[in-house]
């Protein structure tokens, strides 16, 4: 397997391969080490972290639909301070890039969060302006480009780590949003977060979720996510992390051909806990078969 070069680079950080695990689907990185050596991944992304501890949403939190999964976790997390204090417990011993996903309700919280995380040991910060599951803020900053501009610019100005901005597919204009974030200083773009969706329990005549709306992920969203990644890659000059329904290595190659520098695997880990590694190995095999020495040969070819 030494014949192919899978390395890639996001915001100046070298990654041994383009496989990242997505925020909120991979805990703080260790839960899946019972299945494989997580150090083999290019990077892992933490659960969304906020300045203060968050209890997350009440009521049902996940609901399976055909081809996907709707979740309403609501950013439950121990808070950035606890995360940093217990860093050893959460991420100690993990020997790959760690991306901290940063959530917030207000501009101030985002800024404060970025300041604190800048002092942590994580390798990158992913600014999450796309969570559909919190009442205030969250995705609100990710809908209109003008709102995003302000938060990205201000957070960037205090952030001492490479900063990825994670976009919402619910944005009014995904290309304009990406361009705006680039202009505001983002070092990289990741997309997509979940789609605002809902389910109804027809026998109880109630919405499945307390918040009524929640976030759809999984293979169902893949063709739309792929289109958005393609549109964004054709328009920005910073690297892009593509995600949304990636379940197989073929899916991953599609995103790379659409222009993604790296790809991120979310819900697929629930379907198959070894999905990220299966994808990594599938990509290697494809490259050998197709005589692709370096992913740059096919990246953005579409």
């Amino acid at each position: 397997m030494n014949k192919v070069d899978l390395s890639c680079r996001i915001a100046g950080i070298e990654m041994k391969n383009p496989i990242i695990t997505s925020s909120g689907t991979f805990g703080f990185g260790k839960d899946y080490s019972q299945f494989y050596d997580v150090d083999r991944l290019g990077a892992i992304t933490s659960k969304g972290l906020t300045i203060n501890e968050k209890l997350g949403n009440e009521g049902r939190r996940v609901y399976e639909v055909e081809g996907g999964l709707i979740n309403s976790i609501g950013l439950q997390n121990p808070g950035i301070d606890t995360f940093m204090e217990k860093y050893e417990e959460y991420c100690g011993g993990i020997n790959t890039n760690i991306i901290a996903n940063l959530g917030g309700n207000t501009l101030e919280q985002y800024i404060e969060g970025a300041v604190r995380l800048s002092e942590s040991e994580v390798d990158m910060i992913e600014l999450n302006i796309s969570c559909p599951n919190v009442k205030e803020g969250g995705m609100a900053f990710g809908i209109k480009s003008a709102d995003a501009f302000k938060v990205v610019k201000e957070v960037k100005s205090v952030c001492k780590k490479p900063m990825i901005v994670k976009l919402s597919p619910n944005a009014e204009d995904i290309v304009d949003m990406a361009l705006t974030c680039e202009k505001a200083g983002a070092d990289a773009i990741s997309l997509v977060n979940t789609f605002k969706a809902m389910g109804i329990d027809i026998y109880n005549r109630k919405p499945i979720f307390k918040n009524v709306y929640a976030g759809l992920s999984g293979v169902a969203i893949k063709p739309i996510a792929l289109r958005m990644v393609h549109e964004v890659c054709k328009n920005v000059n910073i690297p892009t992390i593509g995600m949304g329904g990636i379940c197989t290595w073929e899916d991953a190659i599609e995103f790379i051909m659409a222009g993604a520098e790296a790809i991120s695997v979310g819900s697929a880990s629930f379907y198959n806990p070894c999905a990220p590694i299966d994808i990594l190995e599938g990509i290697e095999k494809f490259m050998i078969e197709q005589n692709i020495k370096n992913l740059d040969e096919i990246r953005g070819i579409i």
């Binding site: 909120g24 689907t25 991979f26 805990g27 839960d31 899946y32 019972q34 299945f35 659960k47 209890l55 997350g56 009440e58 049902r60 939190r61 996940v62 609901y63 399976e64 055909e66 081809g67 999964l69 979740n71 976790i73 439950q76 999984g218 293979v219 819900s267 880990s269 629930f270 379907y271 198959n272 806990p273 070894c274």
Partner: protein, 248 residues
């Protein structure tokens, strides 16, 4: 390593109504109160479902499950020779040593399919015989395989078709016990806990919740405890009645 693996079904038998028993042969790990995440290799659901260890020994493992929603209905259509994908054992499970240290009498109270994990627990409680209370909708199941290890058993059904009529909690003299262990529908467990609290009786509860990952990564399955929102799949599924906080 908790490998993700596939296993051939040895038997998938309809016990009664929508209750099925699935047997797998091979070398499986786990103890009472722990569970596996399982799904059919071919099927229309993609998320695995958590199912408790109903019985485990050197020869293999068995699950007792109720075909109630999409996922478990797909399980029920499988036959011997079909493949399931699974990983586990997961969760804390019962601490049998601690339970056996209890001085005094123990009741195990199950509602419906809650009998599934109780079976393995009772098998493991070698030093201690328990009193078994089982509630069902209309017909009982699986009690016969459990009962050889118990002091006494009481069965109730909502319809009165079998055993006493009514809810099992109506027939449970909590005050006679030093520990009550319960698995079943939330509403029943809530009742049991509140009775235990009133009578200052310790309790252990096997919680259920909707899961996605089963390994602690997604925070789908949390329940409220006195020490915060805890993951049923990781800090649970076994909690003490004292630490649980029930919302409606």
């Amino acid at each position: 390593m908790n490998n993700y693996k596939s296993a051939l079904i040895k038997e998938n038998r309809n016990v009664v109504d929508n209750i099925y028993s699935m047997k797998l042969e091979g070398d499986f790990k786990g103890k009472s109160g722990q569970f596996y995440m399982i799904k059919p290799q071919k099927g229309n659901t993609m998320l695995p479902r958590p199912i408790s260890i109903h019985s485990i020994d050197e020869d293999g493992i068995s699950f007792l499950y109720m075909a109630k929603g999409k996922g478990t209905k797909e399980f029920s259509k499988l036959s011997a020779g079909d493949t399931i994908e699974m990983f586990g054992p997961l969760g804390n499970g019962f601490d049998v040593d601690e339970i056996e240290k209890i001085e005094g009498k123990i009741a195990v109270v199950t509602g419906g399919i809650g009998i599934a994990p109780a079976n393995q627990l009772i098998k493991e409680l070698k030093e201690k015989k328990i009193d078994l209370f089982c509630g069902f909708k209309a017909v009982d199941y699986s009690v016969e395989i459990v009962e050889k290890n118990v002091n006494s058993k009481k069965i109730s059904t909502e319809t009165g078709e079998m055993g006493e009529k009514g809810y099992i909690t109506d027939h449970l003299p909590v005050e006679n016990y030093d520990l009550v262990i319960t698995c079943g529908p939330g509403i029943m467990m809530k009742k049991v806990i509140s009775e235990c609290r009133k009578n200052n009786v310790k309790s252990l509860v096997l919680m259920e919740n909707y899961m996605a990952c089963g390994v602690g990564a997604c925070l789908a399955c949390v329940c409220e405890t006195t020490w915060g929102r805890k993951r049923v799949c990781q800090e649970g599924p076994v909690f003490s009645g004292e630490e649980l906080i029930w919302h409606e």
